[in-house]
């Protein structure tokens, strides 16, 4: 085995490229590819957010005429929600934590010089980029973007006659998702191989940071997932319910997969900033594994009202309630880590705590939707929208940005701006999505472009107005982040190599890391990633590359 590992490392060594194109465009460097993914997700999140703002405006002022856009028609509203959902789920929630931070930091955190297959890594980004362009192009073709929602249920999504956008727009939409899955598959194979074969000496699996576990597990479950999507894209004819089964067999694990890296990031940050070892490392790993596995067995909970057998509904319901258990274990362990800590409330930690809070709030509405009886009134209402947006872990993307920015760009982000951004985002997120639960209980169906027709929606208009106003403010708050990000790249305070006093490998190397990550050295790992406040140690953290001076039980 030793010779095999040695050979593997040799094969992947490549010299730093010189030209601009090889260095920044068609780069083989996992760090540059990580940044490319990150900035792709950044543009996508602002596009997605802008679409949601147009939706919010149309909902409460259906006949208002906007400059440049004119009046938003009901079909345009549906296109907006379709594209908002698709862009956010695939090009933000799946792309930023996994493609962005995963690419950049997985190799460094396990002590590798690069990903296992740098060329495939480069291709996976560019295929994803192509998928993004194809997705956006649907706006500009005859008929416009599709209006079938991100779930694309046929026959609505399959018949051009079903509505505007269901011709060429829908074709582009499905091609984009197929491309996205090809990119994700290549990326996943890279993550798996890299994690299994390229860990530095001493980095056993159970010594990996939980972020690496999360990226690894996510990648493993991506493989069967996107294979299913291949079936989806080629499917013709048959029962509309068959698509729903296939879609949710793909779509449900997809959203769990989007949340796993967020969980890994949150675990990492909670430990670093509490100055305490993560509570229950093994329990965290097993919880993530079981979420990954069980994520494939719960898809039917989207289909209680679909005409699927009520007996299957019952079985899916039991499985879905059971998947709440590992999610709860994770929450308990985060609280357990905070307990008795010495918590530094720096901006990454604020967002990590925000993530835990939102995860709990989004989590407890799960058992309502997971039980068919309660799903009867709540299914396809705003309750689901609220649940999903609270739980999807955007806070962790911000947390990771504030945390790793110094390593990626060599400077610190402005802390006061970061705090303002946090307050805007936390309060704003709650003020937008908590009321959606109230709307859902009152029976407000999702995907209604106007409240004008159905009588029982009329008195929900004030609440919808409130949500739109808050959305304006919260979105404005995101520009604080955008400004901070670019301003700090140029003018931020210079960061030391380890500004957060963390123990994992990325903080042992230079800032920003050299092309081969460790400047020719190969790190040797002596212990797990969460040795904080070890009694008897001179500092309250012990790097993974430093042996412990005292015996740890």
């Amino acid at each position: 085995m030793a010779t095999g590992e040695f050979a593997a490392h040799e094969a992947h060594a490549h010299a730093a490229p010189q030209g601009f194109i090889r260095k920044w465009v068609f780069s083989l460097d996992h760090k540059v590819i990580g940044l490319q993914y990150y900035f792709l997700a950044l543009t996508a999140v602002f596009v997605g957010m802008f679409l949601s703002l147009l939706m919010r405006i149309h909902l409460i002022w259906p006949s208002v005429s906007l400059p440049l856009f004119g009046e938003i028609k009901p079909e345009a509203y549906l296109s907006l929600l379709t594209m908002h959902g698709t862009i956010m789920v695939f090009f933000v929630l799946t792309t930023a934590p996994q493609g962005g931070f995963g690419n950049y930091f997985l190799p460094i955190q396990i002590g590798a010089a690069d990903m296992a297959f740098p060329v495939i890594n480069m291709l996976s980004f560019w295929v994803t980029f192509l998928a993004y362009i194809v997705m956006l192009s649907a706006f500009f073709v005859t008929g416009g973007a599709p209006l079938h929602g991100w779930t694309g249920y046929p026959p609505l999504s399959a018949l051009p006659s079903a509505g505007p956008g269901e011709g060429l727009g829908a074709d582009l939409w499905v091609i984009s998702i197929a491309l996205f899955c090809i990119g994700a598959l290549m990326s996943a194979l890279n993550f798996i191989t890299t994690t299994l074969d390229m860990r530095a000496r001493g980095m056993s699996l159970m010594r990996m940071p939980l972020t690496c576990w999360a990226w690894f597990i996510t990648a493993i479950f991506f493989v069967p997932l996107v294979t299913v999507n291949g079936q989806l894209a080629g499917h013709k004819g048959g029962s509309p319910l068959l698509w729903q089964h296939l879609f949710w067999f793909f779509g449900h694990p997809e959203v769990y997969i989007a949340i796993l890296p967020a969980m890994g990031l949150c675990s990492q940050l909670v430990s670093v900033f509490s100055r305490k070892p993560i509570f229950g490392y093994k329990a965290m790993v097993y919880a993530m594994l079981s979420i990954g596995i069980m994520g494939f067995m719960v898809w039917g909970h989207h289909m209680f009202m679909s005409g699927m057998s009520p007996y299957s509904g019952f079985a899916f319901s039991v499985m879905t309630m059971a998947i709440g258990v590992p999610s709860a274990i994770k929450t308990f362990n985060w609280l357990g880590t905070l307990w008795g800590g010495k918590i530094r409330l720096s901006s990454p930690m604020l967002f990590a705590i925000g993530f835990v809070s939102l995860f709990v709030s989004g989590g407890i509405s799960g058992p309502f939707l997971a039980q068919p009886v309660l799903d009867i009134p709540l299914h396809d209402t705003y309750f689901v929208t609220g649940h999903f947006h609270l739980i999807m872990g955007v806070a962790s993307i911000f947390a990771a940005t504030y945390y790793w920015f110094p390593k990626m760009f060599g400077r610190l982000m402005n802390e006061s701006l970061a705090r303002w951004h946090f307050w805007f985002s936390l309060v704003g997120t709650y003020a937008i999505f908590m009321p959606m639960h109230y709307l859902g209980m009152a029976g407000h169906p999702r995907r209604y472009s106007q409240l004008t027709e159905v009588g029982f929606l009329h008195n929900l208009l004030p609440l919808q107005k409130f949500i739109t106003y808050v959305a304006f403010i919260t979105i404005a708050g995101q520009f604080i982040f955008l400004f901070n990000l670019f301003w700090s790249m140029k003018f931020g305070k210079k960061a030391s190599d380890n500004p957060w006093e963390a123990t994992t490998l990325e903080w042992t190397t230079a800032t920003p890391p050299p092309h081969d990550n460790f400047a020719g050295r190969t790190p040797v790992i002596h212990h797990g990633p969460y040795e904080y406040s070890v009694p008897g140690e001179p500092r309250d953290y012990v790097m993974q590359t430093d042996p412990l001076t005292v015996a740890v039980r």
Binding site: Y153, I329, G341, Y438
Partner: protein, 268 residues
């Protein structure tokens, strides 16, 4: 900073919980036999989850403040966890979640595992972009044949569902745009869709079921109080989704029969 975080998290928790507890926005008043059971169970789940919500947010805010870095005076407690605690909260959440599930299974079973009773009022509900149609079998108790090639939405109710006038059983079939049901009698609804998937949603009846092209889905519910109830489409069906709605009128048995008879006379 820790104190601000505690205050904000607690405030968010209290305000969110207040609007649930005050029922400022809540499920509409139930009007079907199943509603009371569903609502009761909703409340049970709500109380249990509410406790978890308030406790978890309360502890999160408290810990963030209580264990904040206070310089040299505070020392973090070195611990990698506690297996007994892990097992305890795993078992407890498992019992809570799966137990909840089993508690609700009898309601689900009574709603969905049995067919409608004999003697239930039969109504065929057809969804099409962007209108609901309701068909009653008439005095013969039999639904006449429908044919896709006869579908002509411009021809009113009968044309819209593609009723085959040559079928003797179709002669007395009634197709309406408003749904009538007698109070206190079980209604068997047969859900169909012509073009895309729709979802028949009657909030007051705690009823929701997709209507799928190619399937005839048999469901049942029993209205228990008279009145007008709005019904809507809950599955995205195209650009007019937001206006696909209608009225369910629950009336006494006599009124229902009188209405049916009047419509029959109108038709002849």
């Amino acid at each position: 900073m820790g104190l601000v975080l505690l205050i904000i998290i607690w405030l968010i928790t209290l305000i969110s919980a207040y609007f649930f507890i005050a029922k400022t926005w809540w499920l509409p008043v139930g009007a079907s036999a199943a509603a009371a059971g569903i609502d009761h169970y909703f409340t049970v789940t709500f109380i249990l989850m509410g406790i978890v919500f308030v406790a978890a947010q309360g502890i999160l805010g408290f810990f963030a403040w209580r264990y904040r870095d206070r310089g040299s005076s505070s020392v973090a407690h070195y611990s990698h966890g506690n297996n007994r605690l892990e097992i305890a909260w795993t078992v407890l959440t498992f019992i809570l979640f799966v137990g909840l599930n089993l508690m609700s299974s009898s309601i689900w079973a009574s709603e969905r595992f049995r067919p409608a009773q004999a003697g239930a009022v039969q109504v065929e509900v057809t969804g099409m972009q962007f209108q609901w149609y309701f068909r009653y079998p008439g005095p013969d108790g039999k639904f006449g044949a429908t044919k896709p090639e006869l579908i002509d939405p411009s021809g009113g109710g009968e044309g819209a569902v593609g009723l085959d006038a040559t079928d003797p059983a179709a002669k007395d079939d009634l197709v309406t745009g408003t749904m009538y049901l007698p109070v206190g009698r079980e209604a068997e609804v047969i859900l169909r869709a012509h073009d895309v998937i729709h979802s028949f949603f009657v909030p007051a009846m705690r009823f929701k079921q997709d209507a799928v092209p190619g399937l005839a889905i048999h469901m049942h519910f029993t209205p228990i109080s008279t009145g007008d109830y709005e019904l809507a489409c809950a599955e995205l069906c195209g650009l007019g989704h937001y206006k696909m709605h209608g009225i369910l009128k629950v009336v006494s048995q006599q009124e229902f029969e009188a209405w049916l008879a009047a419509r029959e006379t109108e038709k002849q």
